[in-house]
């Protein structure tokens, strides 16, 4: 398969940074990423799962050209991120939504913030206005376009941030724990928006998270541990592998744990149940058969 269909392709990607003590002397080298080989197809929905310190955020920053590989190479849509000529194009191709909603909104009015990216790219004024309108409608924030971000809820702010990334017309959106600071309702709104963008606009989504429930949305999951990809597979496969998850300091979603408990107790459920609806449906069918 050619490099073109792979929006993200990393070869033995590694990143090191020096740990310093208070006087600035190097006390050790931390290898935050250690030989990552990943290929992600355009249009897919991929989750990167990992406990704190597993290197998943460092990986995300590489995808956006905010950090550069110490070793190995990373191609975004065929562009080598290490080449500084590509930096702006890489950032435009792979947009990033960060964790803290307050710290990534630059302007004082919602629509001006969404226009910030296109302004930097030198898009002509009339096109910026059109894009901003489209993107705010896409994320359901159009009615708030003249509001101050300070008066929005966390989930709304994150949707504005998503709109701000969309306005740059990316092929890929990276969410670096973008839902971690949100309440359940806000989290659902943001995830619904992301899923819709993935299905309708075929934008590649890289969801970086430590919430198991979010992983169920993905087509494919990479589990990271100490800078390495410890496991990869479909969400179903990942959740079945309880031992591996525990080793990575993660836990399968509650509903999968219940399903596995039921299986152990002798109820013939199929493998890989991880939604409440799915489990309910299977149990109903089994009950009918009896």
């Amino acid at each position: 398969m050619g490099i073109k269909n792979k929006i993200i392709k990393s070869e033995n990607l590694a990143h090191e940074y020096a740990r310093r003590d208070e006087s600035g002397d190097v006390t050790g080298i931390v290898r935050a990423l250690d030989g990552i080989d990943v290929q992600i197809e355009a249009g897919s929905f991929v989750a990167v799962l990992g406990a704190n310190g597993s290197g998943k955020s460092t990986f995300a920053k590489h995808l956006n050209g905010l950090l550069f590989p110490t070793e190995g190479t990373l191609y975004i849509d065929g562009m080598d991120t290490a080449d500084s000529e590509n930096t702006l194009a890489v950032r435009q191709t792979a947009g990033m939504v960060f964790q803290n909603p307050d710290n990534q909104i630059i302007a004082n009015i919602v629509e001006e913030d969404v226009g910030f990216g296109p302004e930097n790219m030198g898009v002509p004024t009339d096109k910026i206005l059109k894009r901003v309108e489209e993107c705010l409608k896409e994320t359901g924030m159009y009615s708030y376009r003249r509001h101050s971000p300070n008066h929005l809820s966390g989930g709304q702010k994150q949707r504005v941030a998503v709109a701000g990334v969309l306005a740059m017309r990316p092929k890929c959106i990276i969410l670096d724990e973008a839902t971690a600071m949100l309440d359940p309702a806000g989290r659902k709104n943001v995830l619904d928006t992301i899923v819709r963008l993935n299905k309708k606009e075929h934008i590649t989504v890289i969801l970086i998270t430590h919430y198991m429930e979010e992983v169920t949305l993905a087509d494919y999951v990479y589990v990271m541990k100490q800078g390495k990809v410890a496991y990869s597979g479909t969400p179903g496969e990942v959740f079945q592998n309880v031992g591996m998850l525990r080793e990575c300091r993660l836990e399968a979603p509650q509903i999968t744990q219940i399903a596995q408990g039921l299986q152990k107790a002798g109820i013939p459920l199929t493998q890989g149940v991880f939604t409440i609806e799915g489990l309910a449906k299977e149990l109903l069918e089994l009950a009918k058969k009896r």
Binding site: N64, F98, N100, N103, I105, E119, L129, M168
Partner: protein, 269 residues
């Protein structure tokens, strides 16, 4: 108390004043402020007050919103008024022991307070009807000639707009930290000035740390959205003068003429 500052707080409404080019508003406000200090006459203040009220009504900003901007400077206002009231020599109309009140003092105190009040109200009205981003846009454009003197006008404008964006966030954070410290038994109210200042330290340190962290995050977010300085940048809302802006400039001139006429030709009060 710091929550009450309305400067930098945009009041969203749909009015002609809101739609005006921010450059008109900046220049208009400057003209207005300067004009307040050029006369000493009741008629002049009547004109200034009338014009201010007219603009306020057109702007659809609730009056209570604008007045809120006066609260933080209330004590300064009272203080300067009293100072002028008691320490201006002239015709005495009231005496109690060593305290003398003079007509001149009364007049001076009144004029000074009115001037300061309208100065603050006028600039509050401008910031309430102009988004800080528009404001910095206007300053960027008005100061653009300084670029030739190697003044980084774009960078300064960007810094101003970011500072304005984070003022409410940091105010909220200060509030949160204060409450957290109070819950742990910190005392911000008692003691003398030095003790009180020392008690502020547990607020300032976490606030400073958090501000630095936020700045770091924001810089990353700006990088991620392709920010690379002012070169090659377009504007979502570029400033272009419209018919109404020229009309507003004419109104400004009309105001000056009216003010001059009222001060010169009406009987002095």
């Amino acid at each position: 108390m710091i929550r009450n500052i309305t400067i930098g707080q945009y009041y969203a409404a749909d009015s002609v004043v809101h739609r005006l080019d921010p450059r008109v508003k900046v220049i208009g406000t400057l003209v207005y402020i300067v004009s307040l200090f050029l006369f000493n006459n009741f008629w002049g203040y009547a004109v200034a007050a009338g014009c201010f009220c007219a603009v306020t009504v057109v702007s659809k900003v609730p009056f209570s919103y604008i007045v809120r901007g006066l609260k933080p400077v209330f004590f300064m206002l009272v203080f300067t008024a009293l100072l002028n009231l008691f320490w201006t020599p002239g015709t005495v109309f009231f005496q109690l022991g060593p305290v003398e009140l003079t007509w001149e003092g009364l007049r001076k105190a009144f004029f000074l307070s009115v001037r300061l009040i309208f100065l603050i109200l006028g600039s509050s009205l401008m910031t309430l009807t102009t988004t800080p981003n528009q404001l910095t846009n206007a300053l960027e454009k008005l100061l653009a000639p300084l670029c030739h003197l190697h003044v980084p006008v774009h960078e300064i404008a960007m810094m101003m707009s970011i500072a304005l964006r984070f003022i409410p966030i940091l105010v909220e954070e200060t509030d949160r930290i204060m409450k957290a410290q109070m819950a742990r038994g910190a005392d911000f109210e008692s003691g003398n000035v030095i003790q009180r200042l020392r008690n502020m330290l547990p607020i300032l340190v976490p606030l400073f740390v958090s501000a630095v962290r936020r700045a770091n995050d924001l810089a990353l977010a700006m990088d991620a959205r392709c920010y690379h300085g002012g070169s090659g940048r377009t504007k979502m809302h570029p400033l272009r003068y419209q018919g109404r802006d020229f009309a507003a400039y004419l109104l400004c001139i009309a105001y000056c003429v009216l003010l001059y006429a009222s001060v010169t030709y009406l009987p002095v009060l």
